[in-house]
């Protein structure tokens, strides 16, 4: 493009440019409908490290983590020497296997890679950041004693180039403008646009206004924000790409609010309580005007920031020579000798950022290798055929979620005849659901899916008059207690009650919960509510319910992975999951990802109602699924933070099941839940001793029920693995709550349609969750929401750090503190060609896999080999030498051939 665009060209280019800018803004939803996403989604088109570097510059984040983090992993032994060797080798020498070295020390590896002799390396060791000191320096900043200096280094990600008073004003302006119902007075300018608000604000200026206030208002754009932006573009004389960069730099000064404004504009569902006339162009115009008035030249913002790539070794040539001299155990090499040049070149390459990357790649590879080794050695598939002959006593459909991994493992351990399957937690249902107490319907399917239908649950009767009155009083208490006279009345009447409630809750959360249940029971809990599944078109609400054929298709799509099993158990549990926590703005982040962060309970109920319908069963037989009449589907929901299971079925449905089966189900779940709680407590409690079953169960109850708890559970922390395949591949293998497990059996999938549905449905979810945790853990200040302790709910949209400032995006430090930032590794039990063609057909998955945002692998037949995708083709990572085949294995093969 020529440097001098005509105004017409600019006008024509602008819409495209604006939509690109929109793409680069943070895509985070309001916390009430929080969804995990890759906050660097716009950079996915780039190669991973290049994209991360670009994004980090814009976000003000530091990547990868400081080297001392990796040193710690090295000390703990999670980072394997072989992986580090390979990573260094790749960085310095390019491709090819690294020669093996017999030493475990970093210095030795380094020396081997740079081909320097490995003998006396003390000097080199000293030049590296000292390990002991580095590990010792890992103290949290809050630990710093008041008398000592504040910790060094850039304290905040946001180092805005606006003066603080202007920046705070801007944040407050946006907060007030976008507010969804927290302020007692609705902002009267919300319906008129941001610039109208600023104009009115400026006109109200009084004697003591800031000097820039009046000037700002005088030059506010009169004929539309777009014309103003184009004018500024012309004045700046920048090319399109450079102007886009300028706009992004400006918008990233208030990235949280800018992203939220963008959301409010593009997704009307976001502005639930108050309508806002949000336009990104208006904000952009305001920002351009601000830098103009503050005398900041656009060109000065365009300057590339000084590279933060510090040289790791800053040595003068003579010092370098003396070091090398010691290395070579004798005289110093002469000027210009080959060794010296080689060493110097190596040192030059290894600046701090590169070293961090080398360490990080090695860190990830260590985790991936460990998983591959465990999966490869497990060889569970050998017993698949024997297991298929067993008559199951219980069958359970669980969510693919990594938190259900341990739960399923414990169920199978306490009851060997129980079979569990991993499915998407929405049970194939794409609906919006409105409960009797919900003000609005909620999306109960993955965020990428457009819900087709609405299902409403109707309350059977009206609540008692006293209950209604209490409800009304409670809802009025928010506003009135903050008003003048209302505050006085609330203090003298209701204050002690409010305090008493939280007092008991803080002092003994479990006792409080028990009392609450007693009260609820005394309150005559309403009879079980019901919902209608029948298909109809409502004039206002749109399409409702599903026809019987649709229901059968939904049930069939979920049950397909179970097909190869011989018989059905009398009890088939549809186990959804949810997570309870108190006083937690990030509550939605712990829900079921396949249900858009909501509880999966409605889906389990709807699924069970569909699958238990006699006519649906009749239709299912046409799909080749013969559910016997003795098999009942029981809906239940697993509370992942409290480790409780709630049964959602009606009494009569429960009554249709044999009591023995029900008793078995209950006792199995009871034991499995306690064991699961014990496993989870490993991360919560002092690790010096093993907590008992009941102790750990009580502990997780308290954790989830206490209003003071900042870590009700660790959510998806630690996850990086996904396995699409039969349960036998992983049954009996502890994957440490790190793996998404999706049941898939290629024998029932001749044309690959099932696999396509699973990969295209679940792989983006895996990528979103792992990358969200990945970046928040990488730099919880730049990418994440920093510490949860001083967070402050703002505008019912999100949280701020402290009293004022920008809206925080990403996850908090407390959510990711145990997370190891590792990119996802997706393993599929299927033929490599099929997997490759399916993944490459999906544009986003293709980008993710080919540009290094996640790794893809296949598990060969019966787990005999695992191969990973590389740009140069499938590379065998792990293989088991052929052994005399076990009885079961032979059978499977012949069966596969037969089918």
């Amino acid at each position: 493009m020529s440097p001098n665009l005509t105004p017409l060209q600019r006008e024509a280019a602008w819409p495209q440019l604006l939509s690109e800018i929109r793409g680069f803004l943070p895509q985070q939803n309001p916390l009430a409908s929080f969804l995990h996403n890759n906050m660097l989604m716009a950079w996915e088109k780039d190669e991973f490290w290049a994209g991360v570097k670009d994004a980090a510059a814009l976000h003000g984040a530091e990547v990868p983590r400081p080297i001392r983090f990796y040193f710690k992993a090295w000390e703990k032994g999670t980072l394997s020497p072989a992986a580090l060797r390979q990573s260094l080798w790749d960085e310095l020498e390019g491709r090819g296997p690294c020669p093996s070295v017999g030493t475990r020390s970093f210095e030795g590896i380094y020396a081997a890679v740079t081909r320097a002799p490995a003998a006396p390396l003390s000097t080199l060791g000293q030049m590296l950041p000292h390990r002991a000191a580095a590990v010792g320096a890992e103290r949290s900043e809050t630990e710093t004693w008041v008398f000592s200096r504040p910790p060094e280094g850039p304290p905040e990600a946001a180092a805005p180039f606006f003066p603080p008073e202007v920046w705070h004003w801007l944040c407050r302006l946006l907060e007030s403008f976008l507010d969804q119902g927290l302020s007692l007075w609705a902002n009267p300018y919300q319906g008129e646009g941001l610039l109208a608000f600023v104009r009115a604000w400026g006109r109200s200026a009084w004697v003591f206004d800031a000097p820039w206030q009046r000037e700002l208002v005088e030059s506010l754009p009169r004929d539309g924000a777009r014309a103003f932006i184009l004018e500024k573009w012309e004045a700046s004389g920048l090319k399109a790409e450079a102007f886009k960069k300028l706009c992004l730099r400006l918008l990233y000064q208030v990235k949280g609010w800018a992203g939220m404004l963008q959301k409010c504009e593009s997704e009307p569902g976001v502005r639930v309580f108050r309508p806002v006339k949000a336009e990104l162009e208006e904000l952009l115009a305001l920002l351009l005007l601000l830098i103009d008035k503050l005398g900041i030249a656009p060109q000065s913002l365009m300057k590339e920031e000084a590279p933060r790539r510090k040289q790791l070794f800053q040595l003068r040539p003579d010092a370098l020579r003396s070091v090398l001299g010691q290395l070579l155990r004798g005289s110093a090499p002469k000027e210009g000798s080959q060794d010296l040049e080689r060493f110097a070149a190596a040192l030059k390459v290894l600046d701090e950022a590169t070293m961090q990357k080398v360490w990080h790649v090695a860190y990830e590879a260590s985790f991936h290798r460990a998983s591959l080794l465990r999966l490869g050695q497990h060889q569970g598939a050998r017993f698949a055929a024997q297991r298929e002959e067993l008559a199951p006593s219980l069958q359970m459909l669980c969510c693919m979620d990594d938190r259900e991994e341990s739960f399923r493992r414990h169920i199978e351990e306490v009851e060997p005849t129980a079979f569990t399957y991993g499915v998407l937690g929405n049970f194939g249902i794409d609906m919006r659901f409105q409960g009797p107490r919900h003000p609005r319907p909620r999306q109960q399917c993955p965020p990428v899916v457009q819900p087709r239908r609405l299902i409403r649950e109707l309350a059977p009767g009206s609540a008692s008059r006293a209950g209604l009155l209490m409800q009304r009083l409670r809802s009025a208490s928010f506003a009135s207690s903050r008003s003048l006279v209302g505050g006085l009345l609330a203090s003298v009447s209701w204050g002690p009650l409010a305090f008493g409630a939280i007092f008991l809750e803080v002092l003994h959360p479990r006792l409080n919960e028990r009392l609450r249940r007693v009260r609820a029971a005394a309150d005559k809990a309403p009879a079980a509510t019901s919902f209608s599944l029948s298909r109809e078109d409502h004039p206002n609400l749109g399409p409702l319910g599903y026809s019987l054929e649709e229901q059968a298709a939904i049930v069939a799509s979920v049950l397909a992975p179970l097909l190869p099993c011989r018989s059905w158990a009398p009890v088939l549990v549809a186990m959804a999951h949810e997570s309870s926590s108190r006083n937690n703005p990030f509550r939605q982040a712990y829900g079921c990802g396949a249900c858009s962060g909501n509880s999966g309970a409605p889906n389990a109920r709807v699924f069970a109602a569909m699958a238990n319908h006699p006519e649906v069963r009749e239709l299912l037989r046409r799909h080749g699924i013969d559910l016997p009449d003795s098999t009942r589907v029981i809906p239940a929901v697993h509370d992942t933070s409290r480790d409780l299971v709630r049964y959602l079925g009606t009494d009569e449905a429960q009554g249709a099941v044999a009591p023995a089966s029900l008793a078995l189900l209950e006792s199995t779940l009871d034991r499995a839940l306690r064991r699961n709680a014990q496993e989870r407590c490993r991360r919560f409690l002092d690790q010096s001793r093993m907590p008992s079953l009941s102790e750990s169960w009580k502990h997780v109850q308290t954790r989830a029920l206490s209003p003071a708890e900042v870590r009700p559970e660790y959510g998806h922390a630690g996850t990086y693995l996904a396995v699409f395949g039969r349960r036998e591949l992983t049954r009996g293998l502890s994957l440490d709550r790190r793996a998404f497990l999706v049941s898939y059996d290629q024998r029932s999938d001749g044309d690959g349609k099932v696999l396509e549905g699973l990969l295209h449905g679940a792989m983006p979810v895996v990528a979103n969750i792992t990358l969200d945790y990945f970046f928040s853990a990488l730099d919880h200040k730049g990418f994440g929401a920093a510490s949860k302790l001083p967070l402050n709910v703002s505008g019912l949209l999100g949280v701020l750090t402290g009293a004022q400032g920008d809206l925080r995006i990403g996850l908090t430090q407390q959510m990711v503190e145990v997370h190891e930032p590792v990119r996802a590794l997706v393993l599929v039990e299927a033929e490599p060609e099929r997997v490759e063609s399916l993944v490459m057909r999906h544009p986003r998955l293709e980008r993710l896999v080919t540009r290094g945002w996640m790794r893809l692998g296949v598990i060969e037949e019966n787990g005999s080999a695992i191969r990973l995708w590389t740009a140069a083709g499938w590379k065998t990572e792990f293989s088991i030498p052929k052994r005399p085949a076990a009885r079961g294995e032979k059978k499977t093969k012949t069966e596969a051939e037969a089918s």
């Binding site: 910790p151 304290p155 119902g181 003000p439 305090f499």
Partner: protein
């Protein structure tokens, strides 16, 4: 003369236990000895429960309406200023102390979970113990000299907790703002204590009952009123509190929801005898209180984040307390004060659940539309009635200028000393680096 039985006096026991707790925690932390934070927390909790029990017993024993008074003898003597270590507890003070320890206990339990795995829990507890000691001193001191000690301790703890996250720039500057506001107002209290001293006689508890009409009584009353303004966030100190919400949530709850802000009406109640006889002071008090209540209610109605919104609500209620103090509603103020402290600390502790409450339909979003007439008022309130802008343009400029001057002076002095101390072999030249 001190007698051994003096130690079993309720006021002495209360003050002594909390003094011991603070000293012990402080010295222990200074010694750098590792102690499990959980153990420190349990120690503090034990002390709080003991104090709660003591204050409850005192309250029960005091029902007759008398007071516990004791003079432990001379405490501070500078020139011809003498202060005795004298304590006095009335039924009102004891009921405040019961409330204070109840809230502190809850907050301590809350934070032992909230801050459990974070660094800095020990520091948090120490500052909480300062708050507790300050509260006990203010509620039981018999003269302004002791009150000031407690007052300063609470102020110090408040500032250090605002800056709890030291690495956060905003936290540091808001802490400084609070500190400056405290200093400015506390000057009033200090001057009042100095002016009051000549009227004080041993065995007498002038805080409650001055000896006859005082010479500069009206001035002393004015100074005391001024001294209470910053802590209560009353006009003109209305800008610091909403910005002070930078610390962890339990500290906001215990300081700005309950135990720091309500010290001001408590002190005014306790030394009612020093200001209530002067009608002009009552008018002033009513004006300040009513004005602040009105202003901060209006400003608060335009705020969209939970904790600053609560801070404005607190300020407006305390304004109402000032107003009713001026009108003579002593009992009402006490009830209002206790209920309000409970209400706000509960609201602060629950502040993080607001998103959930609204989206679950338990709270209904306020749909208050601002009419045309109110639109102008909305903007003025949104701007905080320009008070901050005024401060920034006048006071802070002045402060900034003088601090820059002081900084320059210090730098000059330091550079001179450095120059004198410079050792030749330590000077690094450019080419060495």
């Amino acid at each position: 003369m001190m007698h051994l039985t003096a130690f079993f006096h309720p006021a002495v026991l209360l003050a002594g236990v909390s003094l011991f707790t603070s000293l012990f925690l402080g010295l222990w932390l200074l010694s750098g000895r590792p102690w499990k934070e959980r153990t420190l927390g349990l120690f503090f909790e034990g002390a709080l429960l003991l104090e709660l029990g003591l204050s409850l017993m005192t309250l029960i024993a005091l029902q007759g309406g008398q007071r516990f008074q004791i003079n432990l003898g001379p405490w501070l003597s500078v020139g011809h200023f003498h202060f005795d270590l004298a304590l006095s507890l009335s039924w009102m003070d004891a009921s405040y102390l019961v409330l204070a320890h109840l809230v502190l206990w809850t907050v301590q339990r809350f934070s032992s979970r909230y801050l459990a795995q974070e660094g800095g829990y020990a520091r948090f507890i120490l500052l909480l113990s300062f708050l507790e000691l300050g509260n006990v001193l203010i509620a039981s001191a018999a003269h302004l000299g002791l009150v000031i000690v407690g007052w300063e301790l609470v102020g110090l703890a408040s500032c250090l907790l605002i800056a709890f996250f030291v690495a956060h720039q905003a936290a540091r500057s808001q802490s400084l703002l609070a500190f400056c506001s405290y200093r400015l107002a506390d000057l009033g209290l200090l001057l009042a204590a100095v002016l009051l001293q000549p009227h004080m006689q041993t065995e007498e508890f002038v805080l409650i009952r001055p000896m006859g009409p005082l010479a500069s009584g009206e001035l002393i009353g004015l100074l005391i009123i001024v001294g209470t303004l910053a802590k209560a966030g009353q006009f003109p100190f209305i800008s610091w509190m909403p910005r002070a919400m930078e610390g962890p949530t339990p500290s906001s709850a215990v300081f700005y929801g309950a135990l720091s802000v309500h010290l001001a009406p408590l002190l005014l109640l306790r030394c009612e005898a020093l200001w209530a006889p002067y009608p002009r002071l009552c008018w002033l008090l009513a004006l300040i209180g009513g004005g602040t209540a009105l202003l901060s209610t209006l400003i608060g109605a335009t705020r969209s984040s939970s904790k600053p919104q609560l801070a404005y609500a607190v300020m407006s209620q305390i304004g109402l307390m000032y107003l009713s103090l001026a009108l003579g509603g002593r009992t009402l103020v006490l009830i209002h004060m206790l209920g309000h402290a409970l209400l706000r600390s509960a609201q602060f502790l629950n502040a993080a659940s607001l998103i959930e409450e609204f989206h679950e339909g338990r709270y209904l979003p306020t749909a208050a539309k601002v009419g045309l007439v109110w639109r102008r008022l909305y903007l003025h309130a949104w701007n905080g009635f320009y008070w901050e802008a005024l401060l920034q343009r006048s006071l802070f400029k002045l402060l900034g200028g003088s601090s820059r001057l002081a900084y320059g002076l210090v730098q000059t002095l330091r550079s001179r000393r450095k120059f004198a101390w410079k050792e030749p072999h330590l000077i690094l030249k450019e080419e060495d680096l």
